[in-house]
């Protein structure tokens, strides 16, 4: 597909939301902790549904969580 990486700032959003752990975020969005860890490390690009769920958990727009890295 694309040559761009999808970057994110989930880690800082977690810490700004009461130091939420990866496991807590995973439970809220219905994913495994390993998947959240892979997304944070930009090793795995989530589906649109999961990305929207993550953004919704932090109550921010999806663009504030994920963006294309040129």
């Amino acid at each position: 597909m694309g040559n761009h990486n999808i970057a994110n700032n989930i880690r800082s959003l977690r810490f700004n939301n009461g130091e939420m752990t990866q496991a807590e975020l995973a439970e809220k969005v219905g994913a495994t902790r390993q998947t959240i860890n892979a997304i944070e490390a930009a090793k795995y690009s989530p589906s649109l549904e999961l990305a929207l769920k993550i953004a919704d958990t932090f109550d921010v727009d999806i663009g504030e969580v994920f963006w294309l890295e040129m």
């Binding site: 995973a26 219905g30 994913a31 495994t32 390993q34 989530p46 999961l50």
Partner: protein, 143 residues
């Protein structure tokens, strides 16, 4: 390591153990290695039992709150099945070719007997299972 990744490891170990045990039972080892045949058989049985016990323990101690499987697991499982399917396709084409050749060649020998083809089919299925799990492990490490 996620539960699905542990399952991939245990299933890979089980497949290796079953294939090894099956291979030794059916074909045996060369004469030079016949001394270690019983040790090797015992090792394969132990590996299989170990993998079985690990899977059982994970199944018994799973937390109800935790998500067992998500989209990443399904994606990785799909890639594993795809590679196993490719291997099985090649294996089946080789086997069908052997059966077809067996119809035309007289004195075809042991390679074309029905029993030998059955052994090859079982071997192909076990190797396909190993390819499936090895692919999954690779992608669990990669992403």
């Amino acid at each position: 390591m996620s539960k699905q990744e542990i399952y991939a490891w245990t299933s890979l170990l089980s497949s290796i153990a079953i294939l090894g045990f099956y291979g030794i039972t059916v074909y045996g080892l060369p004469d030079s290695l016949s001394g270690i045949e019983s040790d090797l058989t015992s090792l394969f049985v132990k590996v299989f039992l170990f993998a079985f016990v690990v899977e059982l323990a994970i199944g018994l101690f799973r937390s109800k709150d935790q998500v067992e499987k998500d989209e990443r697991d399904y994606l990785i499982a799909g890639r594993g099945f795809r590679n196993a399917y490719y291997f099985l396709n090649v294996g089946l084409i080789v086997l069908i070719s052997q059966i077809a050749l067996g119809q035309f060649i007289e004195n075809a020998g042991i390679a074309f007997t029905l029993v030998n083809i059955l052994h090859m089919l079982i071997g192909s299925l076990l190797i396909a299972s190993m390819i499936n799990r090895a692919t999954q492990i690779y992608f669990y490490q990669k992403m």
